[in-house]
């Protein structure tokens, strides 16, 4: 008997930490109880992307989307929907504006504007089942390449597609391959870069977790084109689920003769070896990553010779990011023309940013999660249409693109198309696709300080400007947020930034000052308020704010109720019933509890 329902249950890391596996068991138990196990199958899938509302399932064939499921919801859902065919409204996604549940996944705006290439199998297949990957045109791109194309044609196709590296730099992938192709050597290597270090970014993890074979197939195509026999994947130690699924995928691919000796009987050999990174941010940089694989300390190297000419063990080495590899099979299968028709193109019909990009949308938006969108979409569409706008009716302040060393962009740039070159022009970058949205409650000086702190502690220490310069910049920013900054400090910050960008070997130092430079450019008034008036307009920097009780409101409206006094952990509030209360600034440690508990809005922050 064929299955009539497939319950696609998200088992990406986000949903797993929200209890997806116990939920899976509960579903299977309940389905068995109703003797539906011959008709209804539960399929664990990779990350669905809408992490904000997990754990979640999509019921196929009708594509009914259920969110925030708990184990106690399972019996009702199984009986009502899976048995009696009545979709259950109360578990559906309900947008905050309309209050009307949306049953079908693709009708939910979060999904509607997305376009999936790298993530085309997400939620549709079981990542641990190679047959399901094969069913969705899996390994078809590879067989097309080895049976109908020469290595040179493969490289030309990738070049024509306009694909640019998804790991951050945006270097044209085909060009990189061509350099390695033209370099004579007895041995060449491929490295899959899955050392995803940006805080809050999880594009690569999600691809490996939801569709590991797409990466393996991409690499097979690359290996065929470049004559590579040995591939390394560099995965973060912190990605246990991704690792497990990748190992499983390697096992299955080897079993099917898609890896190993004489692949598909075509005489090609390929091995993939997993190398686990220890969690250093710098090892996402390709030269540092190569050093790390060779057993040295992860430090960036000068790149006057590209790794494509002289990389691992001094041999030509192609390093591409996970997302880049996942795009390759589709480019070969569907053609460069198709890929290049998506996204943006330069004036001469070349360059630009083609295809799609995966972003991890986090911060103060309603719908946080993983989204894949065509290049050229505006920031506004991502944040408002897909992200559902800013939470709690707050005002948008900025969006940081490109990870910890990306720039913060203000509201006036929201209509900017997302494109490698456009983002660079305004002082930010594509990076690997992090997108952090802030609202009016975020202090931009403090945000710059936070990310500089991250980059500073992750600097490998090789170049003095990066190692010492970011430390001095951090000192200055800390002083400013403590109310001890001077106007001279602002000049120094700019000088140091310029110096670090110019004199660091790798992109870590080269981009580290971005958050500071962009916040100083677009949110200058906040720096000046901190430095000149010793005030923090967003009320975030504690040394710069004071809590005060409006005596009149306190007595007239609140009758000196004393709730603030009773709740103050510092005993900094004095007053009696029916009389005005006062905060002693010397004792107040600015925790904000009084502000939260006052029902009469008698307390204000300045």
């Amino acid at each position: 008997m064929p299955f009539r329902l497939n319950i696609m249950l998200c088992t990406g890391t986000g949903c797993v930490s929200n209890g997806a596996f116990p939920l899976l068991e509960a579903f299977e138990k309940e389905i068995k109880k109703h003797e539906l196990h011959g008709e209804v199958a539960v399929i664990p899938t990779g990350c669905n992307g809408f992490c904000a509302v997990g754990p979640l399932v999509v019921v196929q064939p009708d594509e009914i989307f259920y969110q925030r499921l708990r184990i106690e919801d399972v019996p009702f859902l199984v009986q009502e929907h899976f048995l009696k065919g009545r979709p259950v409204k109360k578990f559906m996604y309900t947008p905050p504006e309309t209050k009307e549940p949306i049953p079908v996944m693709s009708d939910i705006p979060f999904f509607g504007k997305q376009m999936l290439i790298a993530l085309r199998n997400r939620g549709l297949i079981d990542p641990e089942n190679i047959d399901e990957y094969i069913a969705r045109d899996g390994y078809k791109g590879f067989t097309k390449a080895i049976t109908t194309m020469t290595p040179k044609q493969v490289i030309d196709e990738v070049k024509a597609s306009g694909l640019r590296g998804r790991g951050g730099g945006g270097f044209p992938t085909g060009l990189k391959w061509e350099v390695a192709f033209n370099t004579q050597s007895d041995e060449k290597f491929i490295i899959i870069n899955c050392d995803e270090g940006d805080p809050g970014a999880f594009m690569d993890r999600s691809i490996v977790e939801s569709d590991p074979h797409s990466v393996i197939e991409g690499v097979l195509i690359g290996a065929y084109a470049l004559g590579v026999k040995q591939v390394y994947i560099y995965v973060r130690m912190e990605y246990p689920l991704a690792l497990k699924r990748f190992y499983r995928a390697l096992e299955h691919a080897t079993e099917y003769g898609l890896l190993g000796k004489n692949i598909l009987g075509k005489g090609m050999d390929l091995e993939i070896e997993v190398h686990r990174g220890a969690g250093a941010f710098i090892c996402g940089e390709e030269t540092a990553l190569i050093r790390s694989i060779q057993g040295f300390v992860g430090e960036a190297q000068a790149k006057y010779i590209y790794p494509a000419e002289k990389g691992l063990n001094g041999k030509p080495t192609i390093i591409n990011n996970v997302e880049t590899w996942a795009n390759i099979p589709q480019i070969i299968l569907r053609g460069a023309k198709w890929f290049a028709s998506i996204g943006t193109r330069g004036k001469n019909g070349d360059g630009g940013s083609t295809g799609t990009k995966v972003f991890s949308l986090v911060g103060k938006v309603h719908n946080t999660g993983l989204v894949e969108v065509p290049m050229g979409i505006t920031l506004r569409e991502i944040i408002y249409d897909i992200g559902g706008g800013i939470k709690n009716n707050k005002k948008f302040k900025s969006v940081q693109t490109g990870g910890p060393s990306g720039g913060f962009l203000p509201e006036s740039l929201l209509d900017l198309p997302v494109d490698f070159d456009e983002l660079l022009k305004v002082g930010s970058m594509m990076g690997s696709g992090g997108m952090v949205v802030t609202d009016e409650d975020n202090c931009m000086v403090d945000m710059a300080r936070y990310f500089l702190d991250f980059v500073q502690s992750e600097s490998c220490g090789k170049c003095i400007p990066c190692r010492e310069g970011t430390k001095r910049m951090l000192d200055i920013l800390e002083r400013i947020t403590f109310g001890q900054g001077t106007e001279e400090d602002l000049v120094k910050l700019e000088e140091l930034s310029k110096l670090i960008v110019e004199s660091s070997l790798c992109a870590l130092g080269g981009t580290a000052p971005n958050p500071v430079l962009t916040t100083m450019k677009y949110f200058r008034e906040e720096y000046e308020a901190h430095v000149k008036n010793k005030k923090c307009p967003a009320h975030t920097c504690k040394p710069l704010i004071t809590y005060t009780i409006d005596g009149k409101i306190c007595v007239e409206k609140g009758h000196g109720c004393g709730v603030c006094r009773k709740n103050c952990p510092q005993s900094a509030i004095a007053g009696e019933l029916k009389k005005e209360h006062r905060i002693d600034p010397a004792k107040c440690d600015k925790c904000g509890i009084c502000y939260d508990v006052c029902k009469f809005d008698a307390i204000y922050v300045d």
Binding site: M1, R4, N6, P61, K84, T143
Partner: protein, 128 residues
């Protein structure tokens, strides 16, 4: 599993595609809805559904979705099913058995010939 050749890989894909058909929004001719309210289940709706699914597999029908829905409102005539072929008026069948649903599948769904003696009504109630 022995190592595959390209031809074997293609064959394996063809077989695997069937398993995933449910999840793809492909070319579909319509759907058969078995009404499985409490009344439908009590009257033997589950057996009708099982027989239907078996027959769909046996005949290799790939362009029809089999699904369930709640009580159709006429509990005394359960088990019931609705045949919805796209572009045609839906037809409701009543007092079904495993045998009847197989015949409906063969005649109505596959050949497009309505079986008058089993049919309850042509068309659906208005909604709203």
């Amino acid at each position: 599993m022995a190592k595959l050749t390209i031809e074997e890989l293609d064959k394996l894909r063809e077989k695997a595609v069937d398993k995933l058909r449910l999840r793809e929004s492909g070319e579909n001719r319509g759907r058969v809805i078995v009404h499985l309210g409490t009344c439908g289940i009590a009257a033997g709706g589950r057996q009708v559904l099982t027989a239907l699914l078996d027959e769909v597999e046996k005949q290799g029908i790939k362009d029809i979705t089999v699904t369930t829905a709640g009580c159709a409102g006429l509990c005394s005539r359960e088990p019931m099913a609705t045949i919805e072929l796209f572009g045609q008026t839906p037809v409701k069948y009543a007092d079904l058995t495993a045998e009847k649903i197989k015949k409906i599948l063969a005649e109505h769904v596959v050949k497009g010939k309505l079986i008058k003696e089993y049919a309850l009504a042509v068309g659906s109630e208005r909604v709203g």
